[in-house]
Amino acid sequence: MLTVENVTYKTGKHTLVKDISFMAHPGEIMVILGANGAGKSSLMRLLSAEKKASAGSISLSGKALNNYTAKELALKRAILNQQNIVNLDFSAMEIVQMGRYPHYNSKPTTHDLDIINEVMGITGTTHMAERSFLSLSGGEQQRVHLARVLAQIWDTPEALLLLDEPVSGMDILYQQQTLSLAHMLAKKGFMVIAILHDINLAAQYADSIMMLKNGRKWYHGAPADILSTKSIYDVFETEADVFTNPNTLKQLIMPKVITHHLSEQNLKPFTL
């Protein structure tokens, strides 16, 4: 279990995360939503222990995050970052193997190799194992990174899996595949926390949604309870209709069309 209590994060004059508390449980996907600059990524950096909170506490499985050594933490939580630039020509398999680095000293054991094969199968990357990572498409590279991150925590019960915009810029098939994979991993017993931009995707897959604005938590609950025209307007300053999909009973969000009139801006159409 992940317990976050009154966490605040400041850099210089700016307070990026203000007094946020929540709990995350194994078996569930929690999605963080919010406009650009709402503090989503900063919160993620706190959860991954990349940055230390200025105030408040975060504990993972009952132990404060600050009390973990880097090595212990590597066995309990993994992060899929938004951007992963690799300049050296590793094979896809070698990249996935790096996920097991915290588990072995010089040579991977058969257990490590089994896990590598298993996660590559699950993420659909087995066929590119021997290919050069640099020759893969953006989507394929991201899948290989996902495999690497899974390999890292695969045999740790109740591990924390952080996904920072895992599907931004990816096609619709990859988005669905990745989120349904995340769903399955949650069912396996991981705690999954993901930052997403697509509210509909969040509504489809999240067990709970946390909505941030200006570094504060505004809403937190099951998608059906908190996704509404009001909450979306509060957080995104965008008018939207919220329907219920009759087939899945999940929320469907349709932003209202914003119309700009030429006359409002003192513009004239080109005369053709």
Binding site: S48, E50, T69, A70, K71, E72, L73, A74, L75, A78, I79, N81, N84, I85, V86, N87, L88, D89, F90, S91, E94, I95, M98, G99, Y101, P102, S106, L134, Q152
Partner: protein
């Protein structure tokens, strides 16, 4: 390919090249005599007769030179590979990004100071001073380039190369300044050193070089796993629980130690640190657990080969060895640049 096989093949290659290099020169010594003399040196076949003259030339002139070539080559090969690991880029080469010229500047300063205050640079202490000075110069240059090239925690290649140009230019200018301010005796010593090649090798220099090369050769391979993870980015490597900060510091210290001492004894030899790791990666893959040791072996082989060519082409005169390594290395540099144009811009 199995690791054992790779190292055995490379080892045999290094040995053969070294034997060939020992046999070559103004006085040709047949390879079998070279081998016999070497074998006798380790105490075997004591009663086989060898030509006294061969023995003398080999022991006093050629062996220090070849051994120095092997050490310098191994040092440049492995430190090139390691530096590319922390810069996360195959173009980071000690000569290109100013590490060697930083070392060179400090070496010139030391020579000027030694000439003024001590008797000269011909004793062992003098060589150690020179090596430590170059080590410091190399370290300072690396830190400057590394700090400048980082943008938001990530090294940027374009900035790295530009910072390298600046450091090279600055070190070059300061070196020029020192030579112009030098008195006759200092100038003579500095010029003699600046001309430096493997030609000045003596057993004393070899003795001084050994610790500076062997410590990095032994320790750097232990950093290989973390250096691999560096390819993912420093944050990602940290998330894997690897000692990123510590490894970075050690790599800088060890690599600049090797480069610095190499510059101190043989001057700037460019492009070995680029050419060798690149070839190793092409042949054996990019896993640093192989690249680091294999680059050391291949570096020793290539530099010995280059020295052989340098001595042969316009014999009896010698070409500076840097000419040969640049001739071999620049095409590789351009090739990486053209092949990876898009990827490298990031």
């Amino acid at each position: 390919m199995k690791n054992g096989l790779i190292y055995t093949l490379l080892g045999i290659g290094v040995f053969l090249t070294a034997a060939l290099s020992l046999s070559m020169g103004a006085m040709k010594i047949p390879v079998q005599d070279v081998l016999l003399i070497l074998v006798k040196k380790i105490g075997l076949f004591r009663n086989m007769p060898v030509d006294e003259q061969y023995d003398t030339v080999l022991t006093i002139v050629r062996m220090p030179r070849v051994i120095m070539g092997l050490l310098v080559g191994a040092a440049l090969g492995i430190s090139g590979a390691a530096i590319q690991g922390i810069f996360r880029n195959p173009l980071a080469e000690p000569g290109l990004i100013g590490i060697s010229s930083g070392a060179s500047l400090f070496a010139v300063l030391i020579i000027a100071a030694e000439t003024a205050f001590l008797a000269g640079v011909s004793n062992l202490l003098g060589y150690y001073l020179l090596a430590f000075g170059s080590f410091a110069g190399a370290g300072i240059a690396t830190l400057i380039v590394y700090q400048i090239s980082r943008n938001d925690g990530k090294p940027n290649v374009a900035t790295m190369l530009l910072a390298g140009i600046a450091v090279n230019a600055l070190a070059g200018a300061l070196t020029g300044l020192v030579t112009y301010m030098a008195n006759d005796q200092q100038l003579r010593n500095i010029t003699f050193w600046l001309l430096g090649s493997l030609g000045g090798a003596t057993w004393q220099i070899v003795l001084c070089l050994i610790p500076f090369v062997f410590v990095p050769l032994i320790l750097l391979p232990f950093m290989a796993k973390t250096l691999n993870a560096f390819a993912l980015g420093e944050t990602q490597a940290q998330q894997l629980g690897l000692p990123v900060g510590r490894v970075k510091r050690w790599v800088v210290v060890l690599a600049t130690m090797a480069v610095g001492a190499s510059v101190a004894v043989s001057g700037i030899i460019s492009f070995v640190g680029l050419l060798v790791p690149h070839m190793t990666r092409l042949i054996f893959g990019v896993d640093n657990r192989r690249v680091l040791p294999a680059s050391a072996l291949l570096g020793a082989l290539i530099l010995t080969l280059a020295d052989m060519i340098a001595r042969k082409v316009v014999a009896p005169v010698e070409l500076p060895i840097g000419v040969i390594t640049a001739l071999l290395g620049t095409p590789v540099f351009l090739y990486i640049l053209i092949k990876d144009k898009k990827k490298i811009a990031r």
